[in-house]
């Protein structure tokens, strides 16, 4: 039997602009054999609800117009509240590297700068999905 596909919810915060990066990543993760639910714009609550409904292993949030700290600060507790403690949470986009550590302290597992090859992110997901926890 074929191995179960990794399911990724790829979302942009509500409200944001510039979809090139996230759309490319959606395509590249599909190329890498993953199932991508491209959610586009969502409030934190909408992203969490979609993640629960779609039973995803990974949530990726793309941020192009700042607000990443606020999104993370809300997203992680909201996921825990829904009992989604085994989901891998990644962020990417225009996020300053000096904010990577603060984001990780909040519980985000990894943050990626813009323009990376999708494979780099796919490799990371394969390695960490199912193992990462939100405690």
């Amino acid at each position: 039997m074929a191995e179960k596909k990794i399911r990724v919810l790829l979302a942009k915060k509500k409200i944001d602009v510039h979809g090139r990066g996230s759309k490319l990543l959606a395509r590249e993760l599909r190329d890498a054999g993953m199932e991508v639910i491209y959610f586009r714009f969502g409030t934190v609550q909408e992203i969490v609800n979609a993640a629960v409904q779609e039973d995803v292993g990974v949530i990726g949030v793309s941020i192009m117009t700042s607000g990443h700290l606020l999104v993370a600060e809300r997203l992680i507790p909201a996921l825990k509240e829904k009992g989604m403690t085994d989901v891998l949470v990644i962020m990417g986009g225009v996020i300053p590297e000096v904010d990577f550590e603060p984001l990780k302290k909040m519980g985000v597992h990894e943050v990626f700068p813009p323009g990376l090859p999708g494979e780099t992110i796919a490799d990371y997901i394969r390695e960490r999905v199912g193992k990462a926890r939100l405690d």
Binding site: K13, K14, I15, D16, V17, H18, G19, R20, K23, L24, R27, E28, R40, F41, T43, T65, S66, G67, L70, V71, V94, I95, P96, E97, V98, P113, P114, G115, P117, G118, E119
Partner: protein, 556 residues
């Protein structure tokens, strides 16, 4: 060109050249540019012998520039995009930019003001979805008070307000007209630009009006300005958006021209004479990374637009002019070793200047990391000023004319772009391509191909696939204090408390009726919006009514 020697000297030189390279010539890997046009290593008179090079600057078809002496009368406009916080923070920045020497034609002030995302989407600061976004990536402008503050003290006739709105561009214009009125000025005292770029939804994944309604609103703004503010630049053909979404330079050119033609067609269908409005359309064009390709693209753009507008029935020279504002590409900037971006930006400014454009926004080197700092933003402006005053680049109009390579490339790009343009026209035109999403699909595919080339290393990008280092980037971006959100909400509430609630309610009712009529193809919306602005209806309240009437969808 007739030669006294019958071309004998050239033949000899070419033979010697062939001899000099025969050892390795077969091994050379053929190059291409970003549009996929094959590039040779050397160009000669043979490559341009069939081209019509009997052209002068300022003369149809304007390949060599719009003006007979290039930048001799006035250099290009420095139009840096800016805006953050509430209008107080943005006012301070305006004053700083004026001090730093940012100016437009003949010393006029030019303010290229970008709205924040909530204002662009048409929600006010107290809307739940605005949280965390107010004043972050642009200025939050919503109430008449905000607009009074924006224009306060600036002489309207010599100040250009370019309002980088989203789909709130009709409300934005209505508010600035009402603000001018409160200063005792008629609408036609205003100078500036509306974006009026609904057709960008063909390439950007953002919610906006249903396509027919989007075009109807665009034409409504054009009609209003044609009648009431003739000097206002009504419509921005946003080739930059096409470019940033992933288009090749040829695609950008072809789809941008098709977009422009779709605006002309829509205006004509609404009964406007081309000469009455086409001269107030303008282009915003991207400059990516291949220097000569971008210069050739700009030359081809002028030539092609001159033909399109003439074929559309324009006769005034001004209506045949492709006036170009350059936005240097943000997408080609990289997050790794961000100071390196200054080299990319400098090259892009040079391409714009040698391409003979009217106005430039140069990106800041740290835009891949966050909102530009004062230093990076000033450096981007200074880079333009160095090109303007130190480099000698503006001394001669179209200085690359006659270059075998540049002339050949201009022609190639033109030919390739006509192919795509005609293909799109045959399939029903730009608006159809927007509705059926082929434009988006074609550009998405180019973005994907580009990324593959970067991944494989075939397209070198320093810091990404060449000279990669593991060093951490400790660059601290500009941070907009989240307190501005609270301030914006307080301003909004204070304004709502002081306005006449009954008048506002009545005005919103009239707006609903005017929207319903426009949707049915009757009447004009802009005058009702201006009246609503006078009565104190906010940006978000206007947009709320409009979303109800004209739909709000993402084109997939």
């Amino acid at each position: 060109m007739a030669r006294e020697d019958g071309g004998e000297n050239f033949r000899k030189a070419k033979e010697a050249w062939e001899k000099g390279r025969e050892r390795y010539a077969a091994k050379l890997k053929p190059g291409t540019n970003l549009s996929g046009i094959p590039i040779k290593t050397v160009y000669t008179e043979e490559d341009v012998k069939d081209l019509d090079l009997d052209v002068m600057p300022g003369v149809y078809p304007f390949t060599r520039g719009l003006y007979p002496d290039g930048y001799a009368l006035t250099p290009w406009m420095q139009q840096m995009v800016f805006g953050f916080g509430t209008c107080e923070e943005t006012r301070t920045k305006m004053e700083t930019l004026v001090e730093q020497g940012m100016e437009g034609y003949f010393g006029h002030k030019v303010f290229n003001v970008v709205y924040d995302i909530p204002a662009m989407y048409g929600i006010d600061a107290d809307h739940p979805e605005a949280e965390g976004n107010v004043g972050q990536c642009g200025v939050h402008l919503s109430t008449p008070d905000d607009y009074d503050e924006l224009i306060r003290g600036w002489e309207l006739e010599t100040t250009n307000f370019s309002l980088i709105t989203g789909d709130n561009c009709l409300p934005g214009l209505a508010h600035i007209v009402a603000a001018a009125e409160r200063r005792g000025k008629p609408p036609d005292a205003l100078r500036g630009n509306s974006m009026n770029w609904y057709p960008r939804t063909a390439v950007q994944d953002i919610p906006s009006w249903e396509p027919e309604q989007g075009y109807a609103l665009m034409v409504d703004l054009i009609k209003y300005c044609t009648k009431h503010i003739p000097p206002w630049n009504t419509t921005n053909i946003f080739m930059y958006g096409i470019s940033e979404a992933g288009a090749t330079p040829v695609q950008e050119l072809a789809y941008g021209l098709a977009w422009g033609k779709s605006v002309i067609d829509a205006g004509k269908d609404a009964g406007l004479e081309p000469d009455s409005f086409v001269g107030r359309l303008g282009f915003q064009v991207g400059v990516q990374s291949n220097f000569f390709e971008e210069i050739a693209k700009l030359r081809a753009l002028r030539k092609m637009w001159a033909k399109i507008t003439r074929d559309a029935g324009c006769t005034k020279p001004k209506c045949l002019h492709a006036r170009v504002h350059i936005h240097t590409s943000g997408n080609v900037l990289v997050a790794q070793q961000p100071l390196n971006n200054t080299a990319r930006i400098t090259m892009q400014i040079m391409a714009a200047v040698l391409g003979g454009v009217q106005s430039i926004h140069s990106c800041s080197y740290d835009e891949t990391i966050g909102i530009p700092t004062e230093l990076s933003h000033r450096t981007a402006l200074r880079s333009q000023q160095i090109m303007m005053w130190e480099s000698g680049m503006k001394d001669v109009a179209d200085p690359l004319a006659g270059s075998y390579y540049v002339e050949w490339l201009t022609d190639q790009i033109e030919q390739e772009a006509w192919k795509l343009f005609n293909e799109l026209e045959e399939r029903g035109g730009y608006m159809k391509g927007l509705k059926d999403c082929w434009v988006k699909q074609a550009i998405d595919n180019s973005a994907y191909q580009r990324k593959k080339l970067i991944k494989s290393g075939e397209l070198p990008v320093v810091g990404v696939n060449r000279y990669v280092t593991a060093e951490k980037e400790e660059h601290e971006p500009f941070r907009v204090d989240y307190a501005v959100e609270k301030k914006a909400i307080e301003r909004l509430r204070a304004f709502r408390n002081k306005r006449n609630a009954q008048e506002v309610e009545k005005s919103i009712g009239q707006l609903e009726q005017a929207c319903a009529k426009l949707k049915a193809g009757e009447g004009e919306l802009m005058p009702t919006l201006v009246d609503a602005a006078r009565k104190g209806v906010t940006n978000g309240e206007m947009m709320d009514v409009m979303r109800g009437a004209f739909g709000w969808v993402v084109m997939e």
